[in-house]
Each structure stands twice: as C-alpha cells, then as structure tokens.
C-alpha cells in the first residue's frame, strides 16, 4: 500500500500569513476608525484647540448700531461668528467676511474692533473662531456657542 503524502503549509509560512493578515486587518480597522473620529486641531504646539477656547476672553457691546469688540484675553481671536436672533429665525455671518475693518490677522491680544452692524433681531450672539494647526495645515475652529458665546441684547 502506498503511503499517503502529507500536504499543507509549513509552520513558517502559516505564521507569516497569520501575521500579515493581522497587520492588514489592523490597518483596515484603524483607517475605518480614524474616519469616524474628528481630526484634531491644535494650538500652541500640541494643545487641543478646544482647551484654547476655554481661555478666550473678550468683551462686546452693541450700541447705536455699532458693534464693539475688545480682546482682553491671552488668546488671539481669528474671526467671530455673529448670530442675529430674530423672532422665529436667525442668521449667521462671520465678521471677517462681513466687515472690512476686522483685522486680517485676527483680533490679537488687546486688539479692538468696531463697525456698524445692522441687526434685524433682538439678540446677538458672538462666537469666537480660532486658528489652529492640523495635519492638513492651518484650520479654523469655531468655539462652542453654549460655552463660549457672548450674548448681547439689541
């Protein structure tokens, strides 16, 4: 009787295949998971820009159709979202695009801004916009309105 020949993969090839499969599956899971998480924007090196928003401090006033903003904190404010709340609706403008007097480099520490801003509603909310760094280069970040927005009665 002829002896049946043993066929199959050698242990070395099997181990190599196993490692390659684990690495490939790991990469796929990593890339999939990365797509689901938000890209981190940093400021001042490695600090997440969300924490920089906590240190933003500015004062604002609206009188006689003119909006006054003064940056009295340690964080430069690149832009400012202006939400005009009227009855049943609101509009949002960025002061950078809306006003020609907003400084190109943003409102640095101690910087001030004033310009005529026509308002339709009865409440204005100013939300600071910061400039940070990401893997794709410089990116803007709008701070959280509930935490960092400043409300003005018109």
């Amino acid at each position: 009787m002829e002896k049946k020949k043993d066929k199959g993969l050698s242990p070395v090839v099997a181990t190599v295949l196993l490692i390659v499969m684990v690495v490939v599956i790991g990469l796929i899971v990593f890339l999939w998971f990365r797509g689901m998480t938000e890209e981190t924007i940093t400021k001042f090196g490695t600090e997440n820009i969300r924490f920089a928003c906590d240190d933003v401090y500015f004062e604002a006033d609206y009188s006689g159709g003119t909006l006054y903003v003064s940056n009295s904190g340690n964080i430069p404010i690149f832009g400012m979202e202006l939400k005009d709340y009227g009855p049943g609706s609101h509009t949002t403008e960025n002061l950078r695009d809306y006003s020609t007097t907003w400084p190109d480099a943003g409102l640095n520490q101690g910087g001030t801004f004033s310009d005529a801003v026509p308002v339709i509603g009865d409440e204005l909310i100013l939300v600071p916009v910061l400039m940070g760094e990401s893997d794709d280069g410089k990116r803007t970040f709008v701070c959280d309105e509930a935490q960092h927005g400043v409300s003005l009665s018109v």
């Binding site: 242990p11 070395v12 181990t15 981190t40 940093t42 001042f44 490695t46 600090e47 997440n48 924490f51 906590d54 240190d55 401090y57 004062e59 604002a60 006033d61 009188s63 006689g64 006054y68 903003v69 003064s70 009295s72 904190g73 340690n74 400084p103 640095n108 520490q109 101690g110 910087g111 001030t112 801004f113 004033s114």
Partner: protein, 161 residues
Amino acid sequence: MSIMIGYVLLITFVIFMGVIIYNWMKGYVPQEDLNCPDDVSLFIKDYDCSTTQLNLTLKNNGKFQVGGYFIRATNSPQQGLAIIDLSFNITTGETVLTPTGVKINNSLDPAQEVTHKFDISHVTPLVYSIEIIPLRWQEQNRRKRMVICKDAKIREDLICG
C-alpha cells in the same frame, strides 16, 4: 518560531502601540494655563487731562511686578466699551508693543509709581473715560510670554478740558 522571537515581536508591538496611543491622546490633555497672579493691581493715583494731553500717574499697589498695560479710551458716556487705543500716543518714550500696549521700561515694582503722558488731540470731542489692563511677562516652557491680567482691569471716568 522560537520563543525568543515571539517575545521580541510582542514587546516591539506593545511599544509601537504605546507610541501611537500616546501621540493620539496627548492632544486631549489640557496644558497648564498661563495665568496672571490674583494680587496684580494698578491704580490711577493722579491724572491731569486737557483737550490735547493726558498725564497719568500709575501706582503698582499689588504684590507683583507689572511689565506694561493696555490703555484704551471712550469718547462718550454712551460708549460702553473702551476701544480708542492710546498706546501709540504715548509721548514719554516708553516702548509701544505690537499690535498694542505700553511696555513699562524696567517694569513697575510693588509700591512704585510711574507718570506717562499721552497725546489725546485725536480723540473727539473729548476723552470721557479710560480703561487700563495690566500686563506681565511670565516664563512658560523656558520662554517669556506676555500675560494679560484681565481681572485687574481698571476703568475711570475723567474730566478733560
């Protein structure tokens, strides 16, 4: 595969994962804030104000050195926020900071006074009030950084003319 190679691979993998997780997580940890001490305080000891010139005597009545200040004015009682920058109108030779602010040469030690003069002829009709925010230079990561003492802000109504 020998047990030794298995261990080497395992340790390499753990180190590699550790580096990746560290780099990913460090962005989620808040860094130490650079804050101004609570006991920083400047006050306007004296002022002399005409239609063209403002002389200010500032005294450091806090417990820390003050390195400079932001100075802004209003020109009417209706203006709630002082936004007329006077830093660039100082006439006593102090260093003017970019984009704004006055640097006190040699800093102002506690209990010391300094008198600065400003040309206010461009403010029409008159300076109604001024707002001063002290500044300090503090070290962070071996670098001197300017810190704004927003809680030590002072505002005073003036009578000019």
